[in-house]
């Protein structure tokens, strides 16, 4: 018996030692290895994760081939080819923490670009500093990341959710001066809670006499919204706000439309762009749609966007949606920061030099200008836009009309000011 235990113990110890000694993902000498984390399974894969993964593959290939317009025409990053290690974001925060450690400590990536879920971002943020690993959040929206503490090794190249909701409130109030009541239906986790908090505060700042009639927070992935739709119909608000995304968003649109929720009131879907093409015939006319920044249908007609839109549509057979644009922003930001830090030398720059170069960086992307203006230069701001949905078969189906653009300084708090306090101050210092 003792010998069996000893043999089993030896076997386990040997297996552990052998697996630790083996390189998990050997890096080619003279390359830049990136860990890309995005949803490849689960409900967020279709609308967010896979379009982001597609954008990463497409952009990295184009960068390695040196086929992009200036200032991204230098091959790879600083002349070094880019390697990619893709990780599925599904599975919860505990799994993500393990996967992140694996990328940094075993796979020895030069930087991690990833995270769509605000919950995952909140879990990874302290770990980035602990492991001193250069990390770029490309999509998650909670403003808390840089408002609650500073992070040296962490950057977020997409704007946080405050501007989605401030701009939504500005858009609604400008189009209808008679809004008397609002209601919300948002997912019950950091993203939904923060989005609704910012929207409610913004509406009350712009329309102090507006009443909040009901605040619904169904579980993420609930899928059945019969009772919530009833609650909204009973209360009869002028405006319904939702930051739903993915399957939840699509189910809410189908169920709400079937019961007349979108009639006689304005429904604003801050992340609606990912569903508007797929559900083109089902999204009711008059729905206010956002894309979490000037992405997708709101993107400018610059040279980078011309390349990206055409190349993406050609390869994947569909136009890129906002998570694709935000992935490109992250890759471009990192490339510029690393090349700036290298200072013309052919080697890979030190992480501290990249951080210094990244802080406060301003750069062009397919979505227009990105300014790393908040969070001591670690948090991006961008312009924001909203439009009103209309289905026009003659013009190719899903359309956005009455599009209004808001400068970044109009819908984002100034540096050093927390979003909540800024909104409550009546948007002090906003430049609209």
């Amino acid at each position: 018996m003792t010998s069996i235990v000893r043999n089993v113990g030896f076997g386990i110890a040997f297996a552990c030692a052998a697996s630790a000694a083996l390189p998990a993902g050997a890096q080619q000498p003279g390359s830049v290895k990136l860990g890309i984390v995005t949803f490849l399974s689960g409900a967020a894969a279709g609308p967010f994760g896979v379009p982001a993964r597609n954008a990463a593959e497409l952009t990295i290939e184009a960068l390695n081939a040196g086929k992009l317009p200036a200032p991204y025409d230098k091959k790879g990053i600083n002349g070094l080819p880019i390697e990619m290690a893709i990780v599925d974001e599904a599975g919860g925060t505990t799994k993500q923490v393990t996967e992140y450690r694996n990328l940094v400590e075993r796979q020895k990536v030069d930087a991690v670009i990833g995270y769509i879920s605000s919950g995952d971002c909140l879990a990874i943020a302290p770990l980035a500093d602990e492991l001193k690993a250069l990390t770029i959040f490309f999509d998650c929206g909670t403003p808390r990341i840089f408002e609650e503490r500073s992070h040296k090794y962490l950057f977020r190249t997409g704007a946080h959710a405050t501007m989605d909701n401030v701009a939504a409130a500005r858009y609604l109030v400008a189009r209808n001066k008679d809004i008397k009541s609002i209601a919300g239906i948002n997912q019950n986790y950091a993203w939904g809670q923060d989005s609704w908090g910012d929207f409610k505060a913004s509406m009350l700042a712009l329309k102090p006499d507006a009443k909040v009639l009901t605040e619904q927070f169904p579980k993420l992935g609930a899928g059945q919204y019969g009772a919530e739709v009833s609650a909204l119909l009973v209360e009869k608000p002028d405006v319904v706000h939702s930051s739903f995304w993915g399957g939840d968003l699509e189910a809410f649109v189908l169920q709400g439309k079937a019961r007349g929720l979108f009639e006689g009131r304005t429904v604003v879907l801050t992340a609606g762009e990912t569903a508007m093409f797929r559900l083109a015939t089902q999204v009711p006319a008059g729905t206010v749609i956002g894309a979490r920044g000037p992405h997708g249908v709101f993107a400018p007609d610059n040279a980078l966007n011309k390349w990206f839109r055409a190349a993406y549509a050609e390869r994947y057979g569909a136009p890129p949606v906002y998570p694709s644009y935000k992935m490109v922003q992250a890759l471009f930001g990192l490339k510029l920061a690393m090349e700036k830090a290298a200072g013309g030398k052919p080697d890979k720059p030190a992480t501290d030099a990249v951080i210094t170069a990244f802080e406060g960086l301003s750069y062009e992307t397919p979505s227009g200008r990105v300014d790393m203006a908040l969070g001591k230069g670690h948090q991006a701001i961008q312009d924001m836009a909203y439009g009103t949905f209309k289905f026009d078969a003659a013009k190719g189906g899903a359309q956005l009309v009455d599009v209004v653009r808001y400068p970044a300084a109009c819908v984002n708090p100034p540096e050093g000011v927390k979003s909540e306090a800024w909104i409550k101050s009546g948007f002090a210092g906003a430049k609209c």
Partner: protein, 298 residues
């Protein structure tokens, strides 16, 4: 008053859905003593099959009314087929082992089926909204409801009555109840328990898939939709008493009404209320509302 109407209708609609998806789980447990984690996968399979079938139906410009029959057929065919494969291929060699081992086997089946779904359908969402819109809406107490949702109640009643009739009024049902009460004695009386097991598992899987198929028109069919269903169905079954069909009905009704009340009066606790009800029931009646206390066999 409008709120009361809304709570009653919302609670009834949610009850109908919960009852359909949880009855298969509780039936399987009652007969086979297997907590079938793969039930959520059967639900997902039903939803995907229905969405694909309905999509093809409307793409072919076939009569719209036929899509309702197609939904039910898709659920029955895919659920029955998948149930048979899992029972014959995975569970049968494991019978006689500890209940925990069988739970792990069904969990493995759940993971395999989830990946198979991704392999076949990919990660993009599927829609089958046409049947949901076809029936229009009706007003109850001044609130509009989708007629399709109200139709779920009729389907739940049909399934409930059919199950009761099959269990109580047919020879096969009596044999099945004999297996539920005492497997050993049933075997000694000449009942082919292995056959009863196969039939029960296939019926349970079919009910799960049917639940997914009839839900597909109201949702976006995406990977992972079966995960929450198994948790909810388990909660309902535990409240009612694992293995009791009447318990599944009462459990679903209690959960449906409690959730609707929470959404209308205290939305903050909506997430908690289902498990709150479960905790209270288990504290008072650990065997569930309709569960029977059984002496442990040594």
């Amino acid at each position: 008053m409008q709120k009361i109407y809304a709570i009653l209708v919302d609670g009834t609609v949610y009850f109908s859905w919960l009852f359909i998806v949880s009855m298969g789980l509780t039936l399987t447990y009652g007969v086979m003593k297997i907590l079938n984690i793969a039930h959520g996968s059967f639900y997902a399979l039903g939803a995907y099959a229905a969405a694909s079938a309905v999509g093809a139906w409307f793409a072919g410009n076939l009569p719209a009314a036929g899509s309702f029959v197609l939904l039910v057929l898709a659920g029955i065919v895919v659920g029955g087929g998948a149930g048979l494969i899992v029972e014959r291929g995975l569970l049968r060699p494991m019978y006689g082992r500890d209940e925990i081992v069988l739970v792990l086997v069904t969990y493995a089946a759940f993971l395999v089926i989830e990946d198979l779904i991704k392999l076949v359908w990919g990660v993009d969402p599927y829609f089958a909204y046409q049947p949901y819109n076809l029936l229009g809406r009706t007003s109850i107490g001044g609130i509009d409801f989708a007629v399709y949702d109200l139709g779920l109640f009729a389907l739940a009643v049909v399934i409930g009555v059919a199950t009761w009739w099959a269990l109580e009024r047919t020879r096969s049902g009596k044999m099945l109840r004999a297996v539920i009460h005492d497997r050993e004695i049933a075997t000694a009386m000449g009942i082919d328990v292995a056959r009863v097991f196969t039939a029960t598992f296939v019926i349970g899987a079919t009910l799960g898939a049917l639940g997914g198929a009839i839900t597909a028109p109201a949702i976006s069919v995406v990977p992972g939709i079966g995960v929450d269903v198994i948790v909810l169905a388990f909660a309902v079954s535990v409240i009612g008493g694992l293995g009791s069909v009447a318990g599944a009905a009462v459990g679903a009704l209690v959960v449906g009404l409690a959730r609707a009340c929470a959404v209308h009066f205290l939305p903050e606790v909506e997430l908690f209320v289902i498990y709150g009800v479960m905790a209270v029931v288990l504290a008072v009646r650990p065997q569930g509302l309709f569960g029977r206390l059984a002496a442990r066999k040594i």
